[in-house]
């Protein structure tokens, strides 16, 4: 069919850019991760696995993995769960569905760096709206809850500067920002569930809403869930904006918020330790690509790109 060599011109630029911008950097990072390279130095020494050894033995990096995994394992289940919950609720109410959908999607559109700065004010211990709102609840039934009573007596937490709370507060913002995205994906998934299935399930004795969810909705949402979970993993692994906005000097109280993306930035860009930065990059890439491959494998048993 090709009467010309046009396809070279069509595919060529894209191929070139793919190699230079996506594949070559992976190669460079892999090689550099075995060296002690730093920008500006003429040469670099080959130091073998030393960088990787550091990453897997030193306590700084232990904290890095700790912070990253804490963040990821809070944000992924909560943002997926809340996304699904919101989608189901919105799908089942008769009114205002579009309004809720719009509201919940707003954070996805807003620049996270801007919202991080706003949240920092909201969490401010003295002038922030969060603690002042909590204080208003003092003296009411809420004090039955031990944590709340303690807060009323001794003051509520310094959310962002207390090392026991910092990572969870940052994760909360991650959930706040991301669950609307998952909600939209689930809403799209729900529209593709055939109505007949519910009728069939009802005839087979699935009377309660829970039964219908368990027997029809949830299985039908399987592919959506695989996709949503993977996307959430990849996005939360890459958290950076909030961490850098709150803790420009590195990692938060006791390095409890020292996530991987920030570690790469700090080591390689700020401290010019390119070798170790490259090694973290490689580890990071391995995580993300592994997750995506698992997802591909799970989904491709149903879908084929033809």
């Amino acid at each position: 069919m090709p009467r010309s060599k046009a396809h070279y011109w069509f595919v060529g630029p894209a191929l070139f850019l793919m190699f230079v911008i996506l594949l070559l950097p992976i190669g460079i990072a892999s090689i550099m991760s075995f060296t002690n390279y730093s920008l500006g130095n003429s040469g670099a020494e080959f130091i073998g696995l030393e960088n990787y050894e550091k990453i897997f033995t030193r306590s700084t990096y232990e904290k890095m993995f700790g912070a990253t995994f804490r963040y990821v394992f809070v944000v992924v289940p909560l943002s997926v769960g809340l996304g699904l919950g919101a989608a189901l609720l919105i799908n089942s109410t008769k009114r205002f569905g579009d309004l809720y959908k719009t509201i919940y999607f707003l954070p996805v559109m807003a620049a996270l760096i801007a919202m991080a700065i706003v949240w920092e004010f909201a969490f401010h211990p003295t002038i922030g709206i969060v603690n002042s709102t909590l204080e208003r609840g003092c003296g009411t039934f809420l004090e039955v809850w031990g944590w709340y009573a303690h807060g009323c007596e001794r003051g509520f937490p310094l959310w962002l500067t207390d090392r026991d709370y910092a990572i969870w507060t940052v994760a909360f913002i991650g959930v706040w920002q991301g669950f609307g995205f998952n909600m939209v994906l689930y809403l799209a998934g729900l529209t593709s569930v055939p109505r007949e299935l519910y009728q069939a399930a009802e005839m087979d004795g699935a009377k309660s809403a829970w039964d219908r969810f368990r027997l029809v909705t949830w299985p039908m949402l399987g592919p959506t869930t695989v996709f949503v979970v993977t996307i959430s993993f990849i996005r939360s692994f890459q958290v950076f904006d909030t961490v850098e906005a709150f803790y420009p000097q590195g990692g938060g109280p006791s390095k409890s918020v020292y996530v991987m993306m920030f570690a790469i930035y700090e080591k390689a860009i700020q401290q010019n330790l390119m070798g170790i930065g490259a090694a973290i990059t490689v580890v990071f890439l391995a995580f993300v690509m592994f997750l995506t491959l698992v997802q591909r494998w799970l989904v491709e048993r149903r879908v084929h790109y033809t």
Partner: protein, 311 residues
């Protein structure tokens, strides 16, 4: 919108005006969620209206009293006190524009996001067309490579990209902000899937009419692909307007190259207590364009972002 999924079985078949406990409960939950989601937006817009004193004491409701207050910086410049009385909302927004070259930042944002999208389309569209409609040796391999590249999160390879750009002396240029995003494998993938659905007859007819492959892409395929292209445009613009990580790495000194998120960050860096108002005004200005566009064309936006969730 379908209302079958969870509608409580007691409500089925009953007149709509009947009070339903389940329905009410759902709205209570959804409204509570909305309040938490909207809280920072409320804080941001509200603080951008208020005077420093009102912010510090957390008074004044949403809009603040809008009572004129004394601008100390203006006094320092040696002006008359009477001339230095300012209305909070005006003070906050003018300071936002005066203290930093905010217009410049916004312009940079537009230049960078527009260039990225334009080049992405220029590169991706022909490639997608070739992968979907031309038969040539190595096509499957190229497509396989596209699928593989979909696995790579560009932010994760920021470090080697930064080194490459530094080596050729491109850091602190527009090029550094744009080049890493010129290739969108997702764009290629999306467009290819779309082109697959275009009938071959259409292309054959165009060839009969004597059109060459280039004009087929731009005159035949492009117009049919507008919906997909629009979805991709929304994704691309939202991602790059809001991006903070990459500009933070490659733009280190030159203020005149700052994108809006960087400009806001810098504002935060030297903000003392009195600058909360102007800072919130800056944040509002940066967040507003996309939010307003979203409110106007929600369906399109959600479509675009959902499609691009693939990335």
């Amino acid at each position: 919108m379908s209302d079958t999924t969870l509608s409580s079985s007691t409500a089925v078949g009953l007149p709509a005006f009947r009070f339903s406990a389940a329905e009410t409960l759902k709205h209570v939950v959804l409204i509570f969620g909305s309040l938490i989601v909207l809280l920072p937006f409320y804080v941001m817009v509200s603080y951008s209206f208020k005077s420093p004193a009102e912010i510090m004491q957390n008074i004044g409701g949403f809009f603040g009293a809008q009572e004129a207050f004394r601008d100390d910086y203006c006094i320092k410049l040696g002006k008359d006190v009477a001339d230095c009385m300012v209305t909070p909302v005006i003070y906050n927004y003018t300071t936002a524009f005066e203290k930093a070259p905010l217009i410049r930042y916004l312009l940079n944002g537009v230049i960078v996001t527009a260039s990225i999208f334009f080049i992405q389309v220029l590169v991706a569209l022909p490639c997608a067309y070739a992968l979907a409609k031309l038969r040539f040796w190595g096509r499957e391999a190229v497509f396989g490579l596209v699928l593989f590249c979909l696995l790579i999160p560009v932010h994760a390879i920021a470090l080697p990209l930064y080194i490459m750009l530094a080596k050729v002396g491109l850091t602190n240029t527009y090029a550094a902000l744009i080049i890493p995003w010129t290739i969108s494998v997702f764009g290629i993938f999306l467009m290819r899937q779309f082109f697959m659905t275009v009938p071959d007859d259409l292309i054959d007819a165009a060839r009969m009419d004597g059109m060459n492959e280039f004009s087929i892409i731009w005159n035949v395929m492009l117009p049919t692909a507008i919906p997909a292209l629009l979805a991709f445009a929304i994704f691309s613009v939202v991602a790059h307007w809001n991006d903070y990580f990459w500009p933070r790495i490659v733009i280190t000194g030159d203020r005149s190259l700052f994108t809006p998120p960087l400009g806001l960050r810098e504002f935060k860096g030297d903000a003392d207590g009195d600058n909360f108002g102007p800072m919130m005004a800056t944040a509002t200005i940066i967040v507003a364009p996309l939010i307003v566009a979203f409110l106007i064309a929600q369906r399109r936006f959600i479509e675009g972002i959902t499609l691009s969730g693939m990335k």
